[in-house]
């Protein structure tokens, strides 16, 4: 069953080749834009890398960069193919190249779509990573004399001022952590001794926040110590006071910022994806219609172009089997290789239910036959 059959006159073929050539150059530009956006996102993520616990989120910009480069290559070849398509002398030399070309192109185009989906799906992972990273940052705020942590204070202060946020979820996170180093506490003073005795871990906890939580838009000078004590300050009530400190938590601020970035990038990459799909479909149509007139005396006849010769499933099997053969190396027949693959996927799913990270491939070698 042929998919996407279309009759093309000679004039239509010529026009298709011309538009395709221009479209493929636009798509190359789109690929370059995707690569640049991937680089930009990676730089932005690395800038705040100190408050992130893991680098899982980096898979999004990495994928974007790979896809951008691949897209530039694919579209360059697409433009060369359509340049040669109308010339019956030069077209046959692309014959052997076309099957792997289409295989790779479909793979990378699907990867582009996956990267867009990933950028939305990784929100949870980003949030968790930021939660742990910020918690550590706040905990090590006072350790400006410990090597490896001496710049945590600077990082957190700059972060809070730039993103106009305070603490992890809100400013009360600072009340649970000792953020003043023992070097600056006078242990002979009664107040310090009382505070240290007041909790199990012997930490100096206060209802105060660092200066970087102060809101410049506040009409009164910043109140950063004894925040919950209404009597300590004249004409002050901490329940109704909203402008004194930053209300938002830094985790929320950072997630909002990065999601905004990824949404914009996702929209741009989606349009590049659509452009790429149209380029590929047009190249396929042009190729099949030119193949139909190949070898004939009169090349100006009408011909039929199609997208897929067989159905979707069969074409998929046809492309995937050689790849799997390469991977398994000693397996018989294409259909049986595919059956093994299906079994592999099922087993992987069963085993991924249990929390054992890297055993997927190992369990396959036991199960495969």
């Amino acid at each position: 069953m042929v998919v996407g059959k279309m009759k093309l006159t000679f004039q239509k073929r010529v026009k298709l080749a011309q538009y395709l050539w221009m479209l493929s150059w636009f798509a190359t530009l789109g690929g370059a834009v995707t690569f640049t956006l991937g680089c930009f996102l990676k730089t932005e993520l690395r800038r705040r890398g100190e408050v992130m616990d893991n680098t899982d989120i980096h898979c999004v910009p990495n994928t974007l960069m790979i896809v951008g480069l691949a897209s530039m290559g694919i579209n360059y070849f697409a433009s060369r193919i359509c340049q040669d398509a109308l010339d019956p002398g030069r077209f046959p030399r692309w014959k052997t190249f076309l099957k792997p070309f289409f295989g790779c192109s479909v793979f990378f185009t699907t990867l582009m779509l996956i990267s867009v989906i990933l950028s939305y799906a990784m929100k949870g992972s980003l949030e968790t990573s930021l939660k742990i990273g910020l918690k550590n940052g706040i905990r090590f705020y006072k350790d400006t004399d410990t090597p490896g942590r001496c710049f945590q204070k600077q990082t957190i202060d700059r972060l809070q001022m730039e993103f106009q946020c305070c603490g992890n979820s809100n400013y009360k996170d600072w009340f649970e952590v000792q953020w003043i180093s023992n070097r600056y506490l006078d242990f002979s003073s009664k107040e310090v001794k009382d505070r240290i005795k007041s909790n199990v871990d012997g930490r100096y906890l206060i209802d105060g926040v660092p200066f970087s939580c102060c809101n410049p838009s506040s009409p009164r000078p910043c109140i950063q110590y004894r925040i919950t004590n209404n009597t300590a300050h004249y004409n002050y009530e901490h329940q109704t006071e909203e402008l004194n400190l930053f209300i938002r938590g830094c985790r929320e601020a950072l997630v909002y910022y990065y999601m905004g970035l990824m949404n914009t990038i996702g929209a741009v990459v989606l349009s590049v994806f659509l452009l790429q799909c149209s380029v590929l479909a047009s190249v396929r149509l042009l190729q099949t219609s030119m193949e139909a007139v190949a070898g004939q005396e009169n090349v100006e006849v009408d011909s039929e172009g199609y997208l897929l010769e067989k159905g979707v499933k069969e074409t998929f099997m046809e492309y995937v089997d050689p790849v799997l053969k390469l991977l398994w190396m000693n397996q018989p027949g294409p259909l049986q290789t595919t059956e093994h693959t299906v079994t592999w996927f099922l087993c992987f799913r069963l085993h991924s239910g249990t929390p054992r990270p890297h055993t997927g491939l190992k369990s396959i070698s036991i199960i495969k036959y």
Binding site: R183, Y184, F211, P221, Y234
Partner: protein, 364 residues
Amino acid sequence: MAVLPIKFTKTKRDKLAQVLWVLNWISVVTGIILFSLGIFLKVEINKRQDLMAMSQLQSVPNMLIAVGLIACVINFLGGKICYDCVDTNKFLRWKLVMLPYIICTFFFTLSVLVGALMCYSMHGQLEEALTLGLRDAMRYYKDTDTPGRCFLKRTVDQLQIQFQCCGNEGYRDWFQIQWVSNRYLDMSQREVVDRLRSNVEGKYLMDGVPFSCCNVNSPRPCIQYQITNNSAHFNYDFHTEELNLWMKGCRQALRDYYTNIMHSVGLTVLIIWLFELSVLTGVRYLQTSLENVLRQGDPECESDGWLLENSFVETARSNFNIIKHLGKFNQINISSNGDPNIDKPPTAHYGPDNVPPKPLPMAS
């Protein structure tokens, strides 16, 4: 004796015209660059309008904007003229316009130079504007309830955070003004009343600074109150403490920032001025060589191009004479009683010997 003459063949002239056409279009782009530099400078100065007392600072960006626009127009016209100069016939159209155009462009490039020099000479005005502006801003820091001044606190705080500076010349400037509003002072407390009584004007002065003076790089939490009191804080000596607050004054920080911008802009304008001058020189050479072609009559011949036909002194003298006689064109010649029809002695030149030809014999 011509100034800097160059011989031009026909192909050289055509090439010159084409090159000048391209250069004129590049000059249009540089005119746009000048315009955008002027706009950028205007935006930068207006951003900190609250901190600068109104002064002549606005003249520099305005000048650049005007010069940029005029440059675009002049160079667009120049491009059109040079495009037509390849063909000698079309040059006749522009013949009368070209000399006034060159003179205008010459004076215009002088104004570009003036614009560049203004960028470099703004120091004094800038310093004065910043001193007065910052002093007033700090004085009105506490007036967040007075209309017209309610955002001054935020402006000053954001300035001190962004430029990493404190006060006008240093953090001590904050000790001399009351920056805590009376609304937040508990007048019933003894400490407050003591402080108010301690000076003539009844201001609440303290040795403390706003939070925006705090240095991010300090290893210890910021000490912003009782700064000069060593015993108020553990392990603290304010004489040796350098990392606690920002040490630089905001006047110096802003002055350095604006001086950098001005110098970069001034350098760019100077380069553009040199470029414009070279384009003008090319157009002058083109004009003189084409006029010489017309004088000689043959469009394919070689011709000389020069900057000035005679030396500087002679040209200046002849121009001065023209200007002198310009005022005399409506004066009447009294020697012939104002009647222009009276026979005047011949003043024609008859070659180098100046011997008039013999009168022709008349047929009788």
